[in-house]
């Protein structure tokens, strides 16, 4: 985007009158001092407009939930650090080459076990926090709570990949059982794939505002691929990450996934055509029902 384009869009951006994909102006503002100066000036004006509204008091639970969400983000850093380093090593060693079947079996099995252990522990902690929140909310409505008298109306189970908004108390055990089953299937598939002669490992790099997200994709001649992503920001309930396989410049949707509060997500990809025909893979943020074509921010990308 150049200055002329940024200038055309600046007021609309400040007023919030651009669609999410139109917020590319932010990157230009990071690079162009004169546009940034104009943005600052006009931004201050709208800040004062926002603050001129009559004030409501945010309920105490908002702050409580915020810090509970931050707390649940704490991860066993040394283990994740190990996983990241090991995954990077795997991707580096396999760049452009097929892994030896025997080594790949051991490597993938270790990664699968460690990932699952960390994921399982993290989920248990989160669900304990969620359960605690649910139990705390089962009290008669106070004067502070202007919702209906139903105690479930105020449940806010955050930090879940697919959280309910209002109501729908689901037992923590049932949720954990379901997620464990999915994770076990994923582990099983990873180890199964490692038995074949050729397994390719491709690295995905972050392309969005943050360079932290990264991922790997494993695939073999059976045309099934497994995707692991790390450090992706958790999304609100109305958004998902959508996978695109790119061939001759055309983007083909390969499914969607969400991440947990640690930013970890995974997906099984079964493409419509042999993977060898695709040139690249990309992941964007899309509405929860998915998109026909990429419309949102690109977050990960890799060559195939």
């Amino acid at each position: 985007m150049d200055c002329r384009q940024a200038e055309e869009r600046l007021e609309a951006y400040l007023f919030g009158a651009v669609a999410p994909e139109g917020r590319a102006i932010e990157s230009h503002l990071d690079e162009c001092e004169s546009c940034a100066r104009r943005f600052q000036d006009e931004g201050e004006t709208l800040t004062r407009l926002a603050s001129s509204l009559s004030e409501f008091e945010a309920p105490e639970r908002v702050k409580r939930n915020l810090f509970a969400q931050i707390e649940s983000e704490k991860r066993p850093l040394f283990v994740l650090s190990f996983i990241k380093e090991f995954t990077n090593f795997l991707a580096f060693a396999a760049k452009g080459h097929a892994l030896n079947a025997g080594k790949s079996a051991v490597a993938l099995a270790v990664v699968a076990v460690v990932f699952s252990a960390v994921w399982y522990n993290t989920r248990q902690n989160e669900l304990a926090t969620g359960d605690s929140e649910i139990n705390n909310e089962r009290t008669p409505a106070s004067n502070e709570n202007l919702f209906t008298s139903s105690p479930v109306a105020t449940v806010s189970v955050r930090n879940q990949a697919s959280r309910p908004r209002f109501g729908n108390i689901v037992s923590a055990e049932a949720r954990l059982a379901e997620m464990t089953q999915v994770q076990r299937y994923f582990m099983y598939r990873m180890i199964q794939m490692s038995k074949t002669q050729v397994t390719s490992v491709k690295e995905l790099q972050g392309t969005g505002p943050s360079s932290r997200p990264h991922g790997v994709m494993f695939y073999n001649t059976s045309n099934e691929a497994l995707l692991l992503a790390l450090d992706l920001p958790p999304l609100p309930s109305y958004s998902v990450y959508q996978i695109w396989l790119i061939k001759d410049g055309v983007r083909y949707s390969a499914g969607t996934f969400t991440v947990d509060s640690t930013g970890y997500g995974r997906a099984v990809i079964i493409p419509v055509a042999p993977l060898a025909e695709f040139e690249a893979i990309g992941i964007t943020i899309e509405p929860s029902e998915g998109s026909q074509l990429p419309t949102g921010t690109s977050v990960l990308q890799g060559d195939l």
Partner: protein
């Protein structure tokens, strides 16, 4: 020096270092204004709570991305809050949900329910925004209400008002210039005093 004595930039620096007390101080300073903006636009206290939590969680994660080129911390913060609220407003329109909670908002208008644009117009009529928007020409005021409080994109405003897109953009530009004159441009003083 307590966190209450820190200015906004100092708090952001500390938040970048994962200092939760600093986030708590920033939250205490601005949560009501963020929540109020979301409430006025969404008319739903549950959604406003979620937006408020998301905004500060976003700040916790993205504090390192703030830099002075983006303006004051408050401008950056309210830009995040406003965009997040707009996203929620558009999502609700897309799925056509009507969230009923029987919430009795103080000063909530009795008509205009279900249409955030109408609600925004009523807010103006009740003088909450009159001082700020009263000096705008009617066509400029309409564009501000539709965009800033109603969550419409400039293309949608253009369709709704049956005006060319260029005209809508010009009205936005003139509205901001006028608002700046009305609301003042003493940026440093406001920033130092946390608005």
């Amino acid at each position: 020096m307590t966190y209450e004595d820190h200015d906004d930039k100092q708090l952001i620096e500390k938040i970048t270092d994962q200092d939760r007390e600093a986030l708590s101080a920033l939250y205490d300073r601005y949560s009501n204004t963020v929540y109020s903006l979301a409430m006025h636009m969404l008319k739903d206290s549950g959604a406003a709570e979620e937006v408020t939590q998301d905004v500060f969680f976003n700040i916790w994660r993205r504090a390192a991305s703030y830099h002075v080129q983006r303006g004051t911390v408050t401008a950056w913060l309210f830009s995040i809050a406003h965009h997040r609220t707009i996203d929620e407003l558009r999502r609700r329109k897309r799925v056509q949900t009507h969230v009923q909670h029987g919430v009795d908002l103080t000063n909530r208008p009795s008509s205009g329910d279900g249409d955030p644009v109408e609600y925004a117009k009523l807010q103006f009529a009740r003088s909450y925004l009159k001082d700020a928007l009263g000096n705008l020409r009617p066509e400029q005021r309409e564009v501000v209400v539709l965009a800033y409080f109603g969550g419409l994109t400039h293309s949608e405003i253009s369709s709704r008002l049956d005006q060319p897109l260029g005209t809508v953009k010009t009205r936005m530009r003139l509205a901001i210039k006028k608002l700046r004159d009305v609301l003042g441009s003493n940026v440093t003083e406001w920033a130092d005093n946390g608005l």
